[in-house]
Symmetry: C2
Subunit: 541 residues, 2 copies
């Protein structure tokens, strides 16, 4: 099963059906299926939960432990965590130190996902667990009360759905213990609680349309997908706006990153989310640096690196955008050797087109080491059979703009000609350079040869003819212009009807940029179509 | 009434209704309407005929004569001509020399439109008229027979619909006179007639879908219009293929030009038809020159000039394409002073954009007189308040490519800057030149100033930002690149949502030509749109 290939957001039903079928089988028969499922959708809490529940039903506790270890830290999904906590609470109740273990698990959970908008049940479960613990003696009883109170007091200050209920329970709890002290404790907190209540409402609103259980499919740009993305971004923006109005930036950052992590559970296949998250961490790092807090500055920078690494190790394995962004981050930290490693890592992936990566690598080396190092990488690129003509074009123009050496630029193009002589885009770029060199004979012979030798497929010569025509319009005689038109017509005549194209050629002769010698309707009626017709300025052609 | 504005091929009913209404009025009340009608649709035989019939009904023979004089030579429409011939035959029958006058009229008509596919009725009417003439004495009788025979013998060799009938009538005619001689005369011709019959069938087929009575509307590029154009071109191509297999090129040319003239009655508003017709005449002139027939060479060249003149005096009055084609024709005949006249004539029209004409004029002068004359016209253009930035761009690059003088080119751009500083296309062209000059500071300060000074509307700066980014990618440091992005985001932030554009900017940073750091779907999902995205090679940006 390669689910990523077979399923998409628009075609999720077959996946749901196969999961149902697997659930009805014995776990030893469906384990392979579930393993593949959580490998393909490793961020989907729901799938992990289904898998674990199957193992639980068969009472395979060792497998269950293993599975929890594999997923809970990475997949911060409330339902999955509740399953985990219930498991710890119920299954381990026979162990001697089970109270401490369970309390530890709850504390850990609240640290990880306690700020979730739906975390009420975990707070509440924890309180109930603490209440259920038997306490012998007044000291133990007192400790128990303090432990419960601590959770209550933290929870009622935590914006979430049902915080009202938690507040009521807390008030009841205090009243039950000591009505007099209760009044003071509650009065102290009630004002702050009103704010928490208001924020909770906002929090609920800004998260209510989020689909937090859908598996990650490759981006499709569908309406539903874009809508979800917008909801996620609104939620993240809301956290960035610091709704708690705290002065502690670390708290804001923690909440923002929690939002990003939640988003990445559903949109792990979207490069822009990774980039925006790392970019936020970089920003935090800079802010901390400005505040001379070197420790936190380093912390956030490391977090950014961790996220980049996580991205390129999993869903972004072949996504050049994230590699480049990662490199630029390291370049800005002067970590040049790391940059090289990252560029090389991408190039070493077998089934990618490394052309753009070579170009970025060359540009990076030009910036930090100079043109000599760039040339070495260009040499390496030339030996790579996967590269496209773009690498030559980039290298040539880099020489032209940086070293101002037209000859090297020209030679690079000549070097590539043997490989890309049949690629019209390559030829057009070569002509572009020739026009920078500005020797009529060079430009003209380039145009002439490319077409005359018939290396470029006839149906792709159109832009080259237009280019040539424009060139002759600048420097040629009327006969030169007509000669180009005649050769063009002689060649295109095979493809189109000969007489039809006569007027069209004439329009190409007279047009300049987006100025045409006819009205729009006349052009339409003549059947003239120009790929640049609807576009802004384009001098050549 | 300005019918050209009000009506179109898709909205012809109101016009038909107004004509019906006018027909029901007295002619003195509808004359103004009809005058406007034939002024607006001067090639429409049907409208002329309706107008004339109204005058005829009122027996305004003087007006009728005048109207015929104004239209018959120009509008070679069978129905109109038949009306004319009937008028001559019927109305003039009281005049002493009416026989000669009428015969003259018929001969003239057959000369003009005798080769029309529907000309049978005119041939037949002529024969019937000749038959109806009383002949006193055997000499007169003989002459009458010879006259009739002449028309018959010419007509049966003329491909047209109903030529079969004409042939039968001719056979009957000869048999009636002398069955013995008839057999020989008919046998002599019957073989050749079989060919004429076959060609007539072809002729009928190739013309049967032509709509020959529709008034000329401005081109719209509608399906029906394109269909008609295709039919007309097929008919013209058929005539060019010399279906009569004659060795006399003049006959072929006469028939081809008849087809073009017929076409121009319906498609007089289509510049391509004029161009193709004149181009055919030029071709004929060249062929005759090659055959050393100076008289015919001159004749066809003159015909081409006549057609060009007719075009720019009427429907093509403001069509730059025809002016330019006319100029190129005269330039190829070394008629440079005539070229200047034509370019000047177009420039003198008040309500046109003369920019492209100035550019063509400058290019013409560069070709035939050199850059000095070009500069004079550029000076003239600069004083013309109607011109667009294109003229400066064309002039600057002409200097760059022809005189190779980068300084003049640069100065021209500077000259235009005061006028076009708020036109992004102008700035992009200026930057293009700066990149040819290839001095980093020039290019960078140009980009910086243009945007910094806020002269270009914010929503139009996108391409300039991309250009700047690409430029810094070639020569700048990472900080330079980021600086551009930051300024861009700061400006565009006002327009778009700030965070949304972050990833989009990153794509602009990394893309090269049509290579993108993401998949198509990822780009879509990020909301990245690039006007060049679907297009072929485009180095800058």
């Amino acid at each position: 099963m390669d689910s990523k290939q077979k399923y998409s957001i628009a075609n999720i039903d077959p996946l749901t059906l196969s999961i149902k079928a697997a659930q009805e089988k014995k776990i030893q028969d469906s384990r392979d299926f579930f393993e593949q499922l959580v490998a393909d959708y490793r961020t989907c809490g729901r799938f992990w939960k289904i898998y674990i529940e199957q193992e639980l039903r068969a009472r395979n506790f060792e497998e269950v432990e293993n599975l929890f270890q594999r997923c809970v830290i990475k997949v911060l999904n409330i339902d999955l965590w509740r399953t985990y906590l219930n498991y710890v609470r119920d299954i381990k109740s026979k162990l001697p130190n089970y109270k401490e273990k369970t309390a530890q698990a709850y504390n850990f959970a609240l640290e990880k996902i306690g700020l979730d908008v739906n975390s009420y049940s975990i707070w509440n479960d924890y309180v109930n667990f603490l209440k259920s613990v038997e306490a012998a003696g007044s000291f133990a009883e007192n400790q128990k009360i303090m432990a419960i109170r601590k959770v209550y007091q933290k929870g009622v200050m935590n914006p979430m759905i049902n915080v009202d209920q938690f507040w009521k329970d807390y008030c009841a709890f205090e009243n039950q213990i000591n009505p007099l002290i209760a009044k003071r404790m509650i009065d102290d907190r009630s004002r702050e609680f009103m704010t928490v209540r208001k924020i909770s409402k906002e929090y609920e609103n800004v998260t209510k349309y989020l689909d937090r259980n859908s598996p990650c499919f490759p981006p499709q740009g569908t309406v539903e997908e874009l809508r979800q993305k917008t909801y996620w971004k609104k939620y993240i923006e809301w956290e960035k706006s610091n709704p708690l109005k705290t002065d502690d930036l670390a708290i804001v950052a923690k909440r923002v990153m929690y939002a990003y992590e939640q988003c990445l559970l559903s949109l792990a296949t979207h490069p822009d989310i990774y980039f925006e998250a790392t970019s936020y961490l970089q920003q935090m790092s800079s802010i901390m640096e400005e505040k001379c807090d070197a420790v936190l500055a380093k912390f956030y920078a490391n977090e950014a690196v961790n996220l980049y690494e996580r991205a390129i190790e999993s869903f972004m394995k072949k996504n050049a955008l994230i590699y480049f962004a990662y490199c630029d981050f390291e370049e800005s930290r002067l970590n040049y050797s790391k940059c090289k490693e990252i560029y090389e890592k991408y190039i070493e992936i077998c089934d990618v087109d490394p052309s753009l990566c070579y170009i970025q690598y060359m540009r990076f080396l030009r910036r930090v080491e100079g043109i000599r190092s760039t040339r070495q990488i260009f040499k390496k690129a030339r030996d790579d059979p996967r590269i496209s003509y773009h690498v030559y074009v980039a290298a040539a123009f880099m020489e032209y703009f940086c070293t101002k050496d037209k000859n090297i630029a020209y030679k690079i193009f000549q070097l590539g000609s043997s490989k890309y002589e049949s690629v019209p885009e390559y030829l057009l770029a070569f002509v572009e350079l020739a026009k920078h060199i500005n020797e009529d004979d060079t430009t003209r012979s380039l145009l002439e040869n490319s077409i005359a030798e018939g290396k470029i497929p006839k149906d792709k010569t159109n832009e080259i003819w237009t280019e040539w025509l424009q060139f002759e319009n600048f420097v040629g005689k009327l006969e030169d212009i007509k000669k180009v038109e005649k050769s063009r017509q002689a060649m295109i005549g095979d493809i189109n009807q000969p007489d039809e194209s006569e007027s069209k050629l004439l329009i190409d002769r007279y047009k300049f940029s987006n100025l045409y010698p006819c009205s729009k309707y006349e052009l339409k009626s003549i059947g003239y179509t120009d790929s640049n017709y609807n576009f802004a300025f384009n001098l050549f052609p």
